[in-house]
């Protein structure tokens, strides 16, 4: 009897410690880093894109006209647009200053999908294939918009680079 009684206490101790360690692990792993510069993120995400070669980097004016966002409000911005504007490949990486900003950027990205659909809907067959696969993803203060054949691979590369 005493043996079981003694065991009960030890079991409780072990069980609770395991629970604690599991919780800590989940917390640490789940945490998104916020110290990663966009230059580190650019490589892994871009190399996933199928249409990377016919895309070119665009400046703050394009960011404003396409997304209605002002580049100065954010820590870093990286925008890639198609060389010929009859294509739909596009990628936007924004590192916000606060998480609240990330919500507004994500909303602008979703609106961009709507705009692109409006443009290519009735006749852009390949373009619509890309737009249907477009992805908007927010990880902490980082926002990603990808419209490409391999958007999902780009998204997982984006997430891998940000978690521990």
């Amino acid at each position: 009897m005493q043996l079981i009684k003694a065991h009960k206490l030890v079991c409780a101790e072990v069980l609770m410690t395991v629970a604690l360690i599991v919780f800590i692990a989940l917390c640490v792993r789940g945490r998104v880093r916020d110290d990663v510069p966009l230059s580190d993120l650019k490589g892994p995400v871009l190399e996933q894109l199928a249409g990377a070669e016919n895309m070119k980097e665009a400046g703050a004016m394009k960011l404003r006209s396409l997304y209605g966002l002002d580049a100065n409000d954010y820590a870093e911005v990286l925008l890639y647009i198609p060389v010929s504007n009859m294509d739909a490949q596009e990628m936007l990486l924004v590192r916000c200053r606060t998480e609240e900003q990330a919500d507004a950027v994500a909303a602008a990205m979703r609106k961009r999908i709507g705009d692109q659909t409006g443009i290519f809907e009735s006749y852009g067959v390949e373009q619509m294939a890309l737009i249907r696969k477009a992805v908007v993803d927010v990880q902490g203060t980082y926002c990603l918009y990808v419209c490409d054949l391999n958007s999902y691979q780009a998204q997982s590369a984006f997430r891998r680079a940000l978690t521990r």
């Binding site: 004016m61 002002d70 580049a71 100065n72 919500d103």
Partner: protein, 392 residues
């Protein structure tokens, strides 16, 4: 503890009534808060009030939902205006005369403080202007309009700290030296007009009045190589104007300003083209009755507005501006055939193409100091054009 025992015999009657008062206050407020319908717009603050935020799992898990709900709860509290006024009243009793960067000055004037300018930002803007001037060596003028915080310094509360607009204007003048861009600070013109009793700034808004713009018209047109000879009168169109500084700070909610409009005797025929299409009048009368009456001048936020007049051959002007220019525009119409007005904060077109398409005779930068000292859009728009020109 010694201290709690002494209250043991305390006056229970008082605490029972207090209990009742507290319960009633909270119950009444709780019920009212649930029963009264949510409002969508606060006219006083000129903004939309937060609607009930539906809980989404990821927002809740990130802990952001609690902030959304707090915004909703305080936005939709019954008698919201009563509470905000009470806070402002209590502040004035406690001697505070500044709220959200706006001072409550003498004679009912609300005056906006000037934040210390970031010289890097201003430097970038001036460099972009110089680069643009090299690219398009047209005659160009920079007009800098000081704000009430500098011109109506005597109306500020005692010792109220603010950055120095005159020193800032001199720094900009120095930076533009030798760039081929003329520089004119309207400080002296306004001060003289002020001495003549001209009402220079609105009490509840951060803009200057049309009277002040009229007083400066001769000086500005002179820098553009023209003379202001038009005769006419300034006629009031509204006396109900409660401006943006009152909305921003909650102060001066009982003050009302008058907006006047220039009525020239010989009015030029004009055609205004903007994103909404073409119209024959400069003024937007539904803007006057909307939530911001100042938009009577030229309407809302337009990236590019083209004005064509029947003064043929009087020259083609390109203007980079902020909202201070809107009420000044009527005084230019006699002196130019077309006036293209670009507001860099909302312009997303191709400036280089605009320059190539139209042969402008003159370029005018027209800014007030508060906006110019913190502006990043002008550098963006000019810089893009210069860079594109370099690439092609």
């Amino acid at each position: 503890m010694k201290e709690t025992r002494s209250r043991k015999r305390g006056n229970h009657a008082y605490y029972r009534i207090l209990a009742g008062l507290f319960a009633v206050l909270f119950l009444v407020f709780f019920v009212l808060n649930l029963v009264l319908p949510d409002r969508t717009l606060s006219v006083r603050e000129k903004r939309m009030l937060t609607a009930f935020p539906a809980p989404q799992l990821d927002r809740v898990l990130e802990g952001n939902y609690s902030n959304d709900f707090e915004d909703y709860a305080s936005d939709q509290i019954p008698f919201r205006e009563f509470f905000t006024d009470l806070k402002v009243y209590a502040d004035s009793l406690a001697g505070r005369n500044e709220s959200q960067g706006v001072y409550r000055g003498r004679d009912g004037y609300l005056i906006e403080k000037m934040e210390t300018p970031d010289d890097v930002v201003v430097g970038r803007t001036v460099d972009a202007m110089r680069g643009f001037a090299e690219l398009f060596p047209l005659p160009q003028q920079m007009i800098l309009v000081p704000n009430a915080v500098s011109v109506l310094k005597d109306k500020l509360p005692l010792w109220a700290p603010t950055a120095d607009q005159n020193a800032f204007a001199e720094r900009v003048a120095e930076a533009l030296d030798g760039s081929g861009i003329g520089f004119k600070d309207l400080r002296d013109t306004l001060q003289i007009a002020g001495l003549d009793g001209v009402p220079l700034y609105y009490r509840t808004d951060h803009h200057w009045t049309t009277d002040a713009a009229l007083a400066c018209a001769p000086a500005v047109l002179e820098t553009l190589g023209r003379s202001f000879t038009a005769k006419g009168a300034l006629l009031p169109v509204t006396a109900q104007f409660s401006g943006s500084l009152s909305a921003k700070s909650g102060l001066g909610v009982r003050e009302r300003d008058t907006i006047s409009v220039w009525q020239p005797e010989d009015e030029p025929v004009i055609l205004v083209t903007d994103s909404a299409g073409k119209r024959a009048s400069l003024y937007s009368w539904d803007g006057l009755n909307g939530s911001d009456p100042y938009t009577v001048f030229l309407g809302g936020n337009e990236g590019l507005v083209r004005i064509e007049t029947d003064r043929i051959g009087a020259g083609r002007l390109l203007v980079f501006k902020d909202s201070y220019f809107n009420c000044f525009l009527p005084f230019l119409l006699d002196s130019f055939e077309t006036v293209d007005i670009v507001d860099p904060r909302y312009y997303s077109g191709d400036l280089l193409m605009l320059m190539r398409q139209n042969e402008y005779d003159q370029i005018l930068y027209f800014y007030n100091i508060n906006t110019f000292s913190a502006d990043t859009s002008l550098a963006l728009v000019l810089g893009e054009a210069v860079e594109q020109a370099g690439r092609k």
